[in-house]
């Protein structure tokens, strides 16, 4: 089985995030870059599937030079090779452009499964997996909390608010995963040292045969007009209990329309 896992480098989850004044895009230098957490679950699941069924795992990322670290992280976890789409013209790409670029890189490579984390911690749209599936014209098995492969059939449990749906498709298919699915492994030291020697294919926009006019900030379908920092937290309200604390609390909650 040949599995692609699309991974994204995002600012460290706990870091204060900022937009750049110049073009209102994310300031990626302001914080350490890490692999998007849910993507680690996708890598883990892909590794488990190939450990059980044989095959190979290819990590695919689109992002600046520094995103190469995220490819290497996945390689150190055990993925076999990487593809890194890196080009100035990709800067500021929206979800439509990203899905276009990824789909072009993924197509014709013979993947049985294309896996994703179900959302990124920076953009939080959850649409790229579905868009890529649509562009590739293959099935989408999104929000999987469990994946099973039997021959050409992939069955997932799609996590829902009330439980799960069982959804099935034939390969090739796109699968996006939620964090319930597994516990990602730590890269082993051997894995980290071996990662250096694993092949990573670096592609520019023209290498990948992409139309630059459909990419980047200028091609984005929405624009950030303005932004402001979150106002500092207002001081909390302290209710002093003078025997009537309960009534005061209830009054406060009612006033705020919580009850």
């Amino acid at each position: 089985m040949k599995i692609a896992v699309c991974v994204k480098q995002v600012p460290d989850t706990w870091a204060e995030k900022a937009l750049k004044a110049a073009d209102s895009t994310l300031d990626r230098d302001a914080a350490d870059g890490v692999m998007n957490e849910l993507d680690e679950y996708a890598v883990e699941e892909a590794l488990k599937l190939t450990e059980a069924h044989g095959g190979e795992v290819v990590v695919v990322t689109m992002g600046p030079e520094r995103a190469g670290e995220t490819v290497r992280k996945a390689l150190s976890m055990g993925a076999d090779s990487g593809v890194h789409l890196v080009d100035e013209t990709l800067h500021g790409s929206d979800a439509l452009a990203t899905s276009y670029a990824l789909a072009e890189v993924l197509k014709d490579r013979g993947f049985d499964l294309v896996m994703f984390g179900s959302e990124s911690t920076d953009a939080r749209m959850s649409v790229v997996p579905a868009m890529v599936a649509e562009r590739l014209g293959i099935a989408q098995l999104t929000f999987a909390q469990k994946v099973e492969v039997s021959g050409p059939t992939v069955t997932i449990q799609r996590a829902t608010e009330t439980g799960y749906d069982t959804v099935e498709a034939q390969t090739p298919a796109v699968v996006s995963v939620v964090e319930k699915i597994n516990e990602p492994r730590y890269p082993s030291f051997k894995g980290i040292m071996a990662a250096k020697k694993k092949p990573v294919e670096t592609l520019s926009v023209s290498d990948a045969g992409l139309d630059a006019a459909r990419l980047g900030l200028s091609a984005a379908w929405s624009q950030v007009e303005d932004f402001a920092a979150r106002p500092p937290k207002a001081a909390g309200t302290i209710v002093v209990d003078e025997g009537d604390g309960g009534a005061k609390l209830a009054g406060f909650l009612a006033e705020q329309k919580f009850i």
Binding site: E69, R72, Y186, P187, S188, F189, K190, I192, M193
Partner: protein
């Protein structure tokens, strides 16, 4: 005027001195410590007990046990990577780092460097996974800084060896499956690989410690322990054997202590920014800032020294007196940092809610074991003057 605070290591741009691979190894250990050690460590310290078996297996699957050794299931990382792992482990707790140091740098290293092929095959793979735990018995109750006077003896009886004596302050002693024990023989001091199941071997745990409470420390008693001829480490005779192992472990301590210091200092910085007295953060007082600045300088300098020694070690150029320079400086300064941080935390500084007093108490042991502060001072003194002052 306020700006985003930066960490002491960022102040020195320490990351700039590390390769991507070294940073990746460090990050894995750091994540492990955050998720597997930090949530439990205050309780382990308070109760004076650790789940040693389970921990050893977890540390084994992480890959830190004997990580800088080659072959036999070990990872074969660089010395710098090993140092960084020690630093992250000790940022969790010196006791956890001690378990790893004794396993990898003392017990495993002794077998790797001086053992027979059978001894290596027999023990190293299991020790690398943490399935088997090792300890290292050199110190005796009456012979600490001066191990050459040791009384524990091994005598020949036919082909067998028979060991008698006792060892004191032995890390991992009561949880070990194998003890590397140093004993005097007719030919000089020799090392023995002693399965702890052997009749006549006993380990008594030492209680009522105020330091390294999240580490097992024991007395070993050897009462006519009979071992086959092939239990002796064939590769070395004389004190050079155990001393070379100590050199390995000390190297890990050069980095490790800085972890305890970094964790203490970061805690104190964060605390000083959020703790208000006289209507402002205590971080806004010049006295506090001087403490923080002085500590950050010592921590950063210690790290530059550790990395320099690590690069020398990776080039096989490091000399024993240089390891002493690192051990002496970094254990001493880290302890001073932990004490100063304790003062910044005020009353909160004396509780296990914060890691600082735990690090401070732990570092008292680290100042003493693996060659005391004084012994390393004398090694450096000897290097500078050519005169040995310890006899």
């Amino acid at each position: 005027m306020t700006q985003a605070p930066q960490t002491p290591f960022a102040l020195f741009d320490i990351d700039h001195l590390l390769s991507e691979e070294e940073r990746a190894i460090r990050d894995v250990v750091r994540e492990f410590v955050d998720s597997e050690i930090r949530p439990h460590i205050a309780d382990w310290f308070e109760s004076g007990s650790i789940p040693a078996r389970e921990l050893a297996r977890d540390l084994g699957s992480l890959g830190v046990l004997g990580m800088h050794l080659e072959g036999y299931g070990c990872q074969g990382t660089s010395a710098v990577a090993y140092g960084l792992a020690c630093l992250e482990l000790e940022a969790g707790d010196s006791g956890i780092r001690s378990l790893v140091s004794v396993q990898g740098s003392l017990a495993m290293h002794a077998i790797r460097a001086f053992g027979s092929e059978e001894q290596k095959q027999d023990w190293l793979p299991r020790m690398a996974t943490g399935e088997a735990i090792g300890c290292f018995g050199l110190t005796e109750a009456d012979f600490g800084s001066n191990p050459s006077g040791m009384r524990t003896s091994a005598r020949r009886d036919g082909d067998d060896w028979v060991l008698d004596g006792s060892k004191m302050w032995i890390t991992n002693g009561s949880v070990a499956d194998v003890a590397v024990v140093w004993a005097r023989t007719d030919d000089g001091i020799r090392g023995f690989v002693v399965p702890t199941q052997t009749p006549g071997f006993r380990a008594n745990e030492i209680h009522k410690k105020m330091s390294l409470r999240a580490s097992v420390t024991s007395e070993l008693v050897l009462d006519g322990v009979r071992l086959p001829a092939d239990a002796v480490l064939p590769g070395v005779v004389g004190l050079r054997g155990p001393l070379s192992c100590l050199g390995e472990a000390r190297f890990g301590i050069v980095f490790g202590t800085l972890g305890a210091a970094r964790d203490s200092l970061q805690t104190a910085i964060d605390y000083s920014i959020s703790r208000e007295q006289f209507d402002k953060p205590i971080a806004a007082f010049q006295l506090t800032q001087k403490k923080l600045a002085d500590m950050a300088l010592e921590l950063g300098k210690g790290m530059l020294l550790a990395l320099h020694l690590g690069r020398l070690k990776d080039e096989h150029l490091i000399r024993p007196e240089q390891v002493s320079v690192g051990k002496l400086n970094n254990a001493r300064e880290s302890l001073a940092i932990a004490r100063e941080c304790r003062s910044i935390l005020g009353g909160n500084g004396i509780t296990l809610e914060y890691p600082v007093i735990r690090h401070m108490n732990n570092l008292e042991s680290v100042l003493t074991y693996e060659g005391t502060n004084e012994m390393h001072t004398l090694v450096v003194g000897q290097a500078l003057t050519g005169i040995a002052a310890y006899r």
